[in-house]
Structure formats: structure tokens, C-alpha cells
């Protein structure tokens, strides 16, 4: 478990302190995939680097499994960092070392593993990230997705319990992003690793995170289960991210809504209710006619969800709304 207790960070510029992170409380549970979203400069990079103390907090405490890591001496800090893997947007592999040597590097630094142990572990990790045949290549000979896989293998070398991902998929194309995210989800599931992932893409959060914090101006402005935050965003920044990830142009949507007749509702289905033939049923029961203005059916991690914007005309509207709610569908009156 990672706990941030009133952790803050500011940078001294001249005689002024510029805050990068305002005092923040945050608890990340063991084994969860925790997403941190924000625009660049929102403080998310700082936040993630405060966890393994690449950045020193200017106030507050960082507790990992109950221990305050900010008071560690140099040796304790190095031992702690071996238990916290980290992967980066630009991979940060050593160009002078082969793939296998890059993966072996943290184990060599640790100085507590035998040559045989290192060799076996490297082979095991190469297999895990599906790069068994690439061990003798240099990073420059690999594609972006392969480089990130090497980064992941390297981060896992010393069997960490936490994996920090700093914009790990931002430099990758959409297809490669998917395969890297699948790998991360697999690692989380099979190794029980806690993953803290920062990104500016809500889509990444939607695919693999359990919970998410949205950051803006050095503060966490919204936090919760991904399904809640995604389907019912409260803060304007969160709304921006969600709309952006759904490719919705808000002005266009407003215009479309203006032309629609009757009552406009936004229905949100989650889990099982997503697949129920509800619309036709409710329409028959209540006598309302409906047209679909916009809609989306997708998954948030493993949970299917649907979100439909309907315009409803005639019939018994109250009855229709009651029936939707009775079927566990969230109803929001847009107009």
C-alpha cells in the first residue's frame, strides 16, 4: 500500500517557491492499477516521482507498506528503489548494452545475485515479454513497442512489488499501446503487482485502471473508481478528458440536441444491464417514442458499459424513467 500524507513539492526559482504539487493525500491499495490523468504540467510526473523519491517532497510523508520512506538513508533508499520498478515514455534503455544486458542491469547494480541467477531471470523475463530471440540485439534495432517491453522486463528484474509507469504508452502507436497495456494488465493480474500509471490519455485509464485520480494545477481534483469517474465526471477537467477520449465535440453535440424534439435523457448502462433489450421493452410499456442522438457501447477494464443519449416523445415519460431506473440504468435528464 502506498500512502501519501500531505505530500507537497515546490521548486525554488530565485527567491520564490513555485508549487508543483499542493499538499496531497492519496492511498493506493496493494494490487490495484491506479491511474493518474492530467495535462502536461498538472503535477502528475512530480507525483509519481515522489513515490520512489526521484523527487524529494518539500513536505509531508510517503508511506509504503506503512514505512515512511522519506527518512531512509542512502543504502535503505537504494534497497527500496529495487522494489519499485519504473518504466518511461522514452524507454530510457542503455544504448550501449544489449537487450539482455539492459534487463540484467538492475540485478547487477543490486550486487546480490549470482551470474546464474541473473542469466535465468533474464531468460524468464525475455519470455514474459515475448522477446526471447531478441536478447543479443541492441535497443536501436528494436521497434518502440519492443523497446517498452524491454523496459518492462528491466523494471521487473528485481521482482518489485510496485511498478510506476510514466507515460509508458505516449510514444507508441495505438496498436502497440494496446499490446503494452495488455502486458501490463497481465503482469498486474499474475504477479499481483501494484501499478501506478500516469497518462494524458483517458483511454489508457479506461482500459486497465481500477481507480483514477484526475490532476489539474498541482492538485487532485477528482478521484474514484474508473467506472464512476468515467461515466459521471464531475470536475470540468475530468469532463474534458472524457469527452476527448470519446471523440465528442461538445459544441456539435449541443447543436444536435437543440434540433431534437421532446425530452432528452442520457442513459448509462453498466455491467449486465448493457446487454438487456431494454429500450424496446420500455418504449412498448410506456408508449414513448424514442430516437437515439448519440451512443457508445464499450468496456471499462472488464466492465461493459453503454451510454445513450435519447430524445423521447409522447407516451408516459415518468413511467419510462421509472422503468429504466428499475433496471439499474442511470438516468440523467439533459433537457
Amino acid at each position: 500500500m502506498i500512502e501519501l500524507d500531505q505530500v507537497q513539492k515546490s521548486y525554488q526559482v530565485g527567491d520564490r517557491a513555485i508549487p508543483a504539487l499542493h499538499p496531497t493525500d492519496l492511498t493506493i491499495d496493494t494490487g490495484e492499477v491506479f491511474g493518474i490523468v492530467g495535462h502536461s504540467g498538472a503535477g502528475k510526473s512530480t507525483l509519481v516521482r515522489l513515490i520512489n523519491l526521484l523527487e524529494r517532497p518539500t513536505g509531508g510523508r510517503v508511506l509504503v507498506d506503512g514505512e515512511d520512506v522519506t527518512h531512509y538513508d542512502a543504502a535503505e533508499l537504494r534497497a527500496f528503489r529495487r522494489k519499485v520498478g519504473m518504466i518511461f515514455q522514452h524507454f530510457n534503455l542503455l544504448s550501449s548494452r544489449t537487450v539482455a544486458d539492459n534487463i540484467a542491469f538492475p540485478m547487477k547494480l543490486a550486487g546480490i545475485y549470482s551470474k546464474a541467477e541473473i542469466r535465468d531471470r533474464v531468460a524468464e523475463l525475455l519470455a514474459l515479454v515475448s522477446l526471447t530471440d531478441q536478447g543479443n540485439k541492441y535497443p536501436s534495432q528494436l521497434s518502440g513497442g519492443q523497446k517498452q517491453r524491454v523496459g518492462i522486463a528491466r523494471a521487473l528484474a528485481c521482482r518489485p512489488t510496485i511498478l510506476l509507469c510514466d507515460e509508458a504508452t505516449s510514444a507508441l502507436d495505438p496498436q502497440t499501446t494496446q499490446s503494452v497495456l495488455r502486458l501490463l494488465a497481465e503482469i498486474n493480474r499474475e504477479l499481483g503487482l501494484t501499478i501506478v500509471l500516469i497518462t494524458h490519455e483517458m483511454d489508457v485509464v479506461r482500459r486497465i485502471c481500477d481507480r483514477v485520480a484526475v490532476m489539474d494545477g498541482g492538485r487532485i481534483v477528482e478521484m474514484g473508481a474508473v467506472t464512476d469517474v468515467f461515466l459521471h465526471p464531475e470536475h470540468p477537467t475530468t469532463r474534458d478528458f472524457v469527452f476527448e477520449s470519446e471523440n465528442v465535440d461538445r459544441d456539435e453535440l449541443q447543436q444536435d440536441l437543440q434540433h431534437a424534439p421532446g425530452r432528452i435523457l442520457r442513459l448509462t448502462f453498466r455491467g449486465e444491464s448493457t446487454y438487456k433489450p431494454l429500450l424496446g421493452h420500455v418504449a412498448r410499456q410506456s408508449g414513448v417514442d424514442f430516437s437515439i442522438l448519440s451512443g457508445r457501447i464499450d468496456h471499462i477494464k472488464d466492465t461493459p458499459y453503454g451510454q445513450l443519449t435519447l430524445s423521447l416523445v409522447g407516451g408516459n415519460l415518468d413511467q419510462a424513467m421509472a422503468e429504466f431506473e428499475a433496471a439499474d440504468v442511470h438516468v440523467e435528464v439533459v433537457r
Binding site: N52, R81, S96, L109, P139
Partner: protein, 222 residues
């Protein structure tokens, strides 16, 4: 036919002069690297926003390097005489030329090392720290291997600079090809000696550059 064109050329003399140049450049390069490399690493590490940021140490080190680099070599050669006598016992000959060559070469090389270390992606240093490396491991495990091609290119440039510095060592009786060119080619108007020594120096520099380029290519994995 060759002999009639090169009447003044004493090939034994040329041979000894070439050997002297080789010894001066080789020895001074060795010591320039041995001294310049750690100084360059220190310059880098104590620099702004680096691992061991130390503004005062950096300012002092940087000042010494700049002073040595701003003194023209021909002057350095003379200024260094007492120091050379202290180290070598004499300020004359090939051995007497080496300390001033190192005094000129080491700070030059140190700056080149500092520059090539700065070219190493900061992310690599950060990643290495995140793996639990201490400063020594960051330097020897990541910084130096990653900067190796740049450092080799720096050694090449330094070697070539030392070749031209060594030509001035005649001032302290250092000998070598450059000295020969000045004493015979210039002062005694023996154009043939001038042509041969210059040609040999050109070949020498070409060989150094080629060797350096090959090594850089071999160690570059980018």
C-alpha cells in the same frame, strides 16, 4: 631522381624526428586522458542540476580549465618550465615537452568529456537511479558507457591537437617533426625538408582521425 630533388633530406634524422613526435603525442595523450577524464567527469557532476551539484567546486574547476585553455601553447611551454623541471628534472628534450603538452591537452580533453557526458539523455541517469544505483554505479554503469563514442571522438580531437602542439616543442628543444620543419625547412630554407615533414604530419593526422572514426563507429550502438 628522388635524391636530386630531396638533397637536404636526412632520412635518419626524419626517422628520429617521427619517433620523437610519436613519443610526445603518445605520452602526453596518455596523461591528458588520465587527468582529463576524471576532471571532465567532475566538471559534469558538479555542474548545474547534475548529480553532485556544487556551484563553488564547479566554478573553481572550470576557472582552472579555462585559464589553461586560454594561454597560447607557445607561452604555456615557457611558463611551465619550472614545473617541468620539478617533475622531470629537466625542461629540455622530448621528456621536457611532455608536461606542458599535458597541461595543454588535459583541460582541453576535460571539456570534451564534460560535453559528451551532457549529451547522455537525462532519462537514462534517472532510470539508473530509479533502479537503485549509487553515484559511482551511475557514472561507471551508465554515464561513461553511454558517452563512450563521444569520449573516443574527444580523444581523437585531443590527439590531433597534441600533434600540432608538439610541433612547437622545438622551443624547449623538444624535437619531433614540427621542430625539424622549423629548423631546417624554415630557418635554413630547405624546402624539401619542409615538404617531407609536413607530408608526414598530414599522414599522421589522417591515420589518427581514421582510427578514431573507426573506433567511434564500433562503439556506437545508436
Amino acid at each position: 631522381m628522388m635524391d636530386s630533388l630531396l638533397t637536404n633530406v636526412d632520412w635518419v634524422e626524419i626517422g628520429w624526428a617521427s619517433w620523437d613526435t610519436l613519443v610526445m603525442v603518445g605520452m602526453s595523450l596518455l596523461f591528458s586522458v588520465l587527468i582529463g577524464l576524471p576532471v571532465g567527469v567532475l566538471l559534469f557532476l558538479t555542474g548545474k542540476r547534475q548529480l553532485l551539484e556544487q556551484p563553488v567546486a564547479y566554478a573553481i574547476l572550470s576557472f582552472i580549465v579555462n585559464v589553461l585553455r586560454s594561454v597560447p601553447f607557445i607561452i604555456l611551454l615557457i611558463v611551465m618550465i619550472p614545473v617541468t623541471v620539478m617533475i622531470i628534472g629537466t625542461s629540455l628534450g622530448v621528456a621536457g615537452a611532455i608536461p606542458p603538452l599535458v597541461a595543454g591537452g588535459a583541460p582541453f580533453f576535460a571539456r570534451l568529456v564534460e560535453t559528451s557526458l551532457r549529451e547522455v539523455d537525462r532519462g537514462i541517469i534517472e532510470a539508473t537511479q530509479a533502479m537503485g544505483a549509487n553515484v559511482r554505479q551511475v557514472i561507471f554503469g551508465a554515464l561513461l558507457p553511454e558517452a563512450l563514442p563521444g569520449i573516443i571522438a574527444g580523444i581523437t580531437v585531443t590527439a590531433i591537437t597534441l600533434v600540432s602542439y608538439a610541433a612547437m616543442s622545438g622551443v624547449v628543444g623538444g624535437g619531433g617533426l614540427g621542430d625539424l620543419a622549423i629548423r631546417f625547412g624554415y630557418q635554413r630554407f630547405q624546402t624539401d625538408v619542409m615538404v617531407i615533414t609536413v607530408a608526414l604530419l598530414v599522414v599522421f593526422v589522417q591515420l589518427l582521425q581514421m582510427l578514431g572514426d573507426r573506433l567511434v563507429l564500433y562503439f556506437s550502438r545508436k
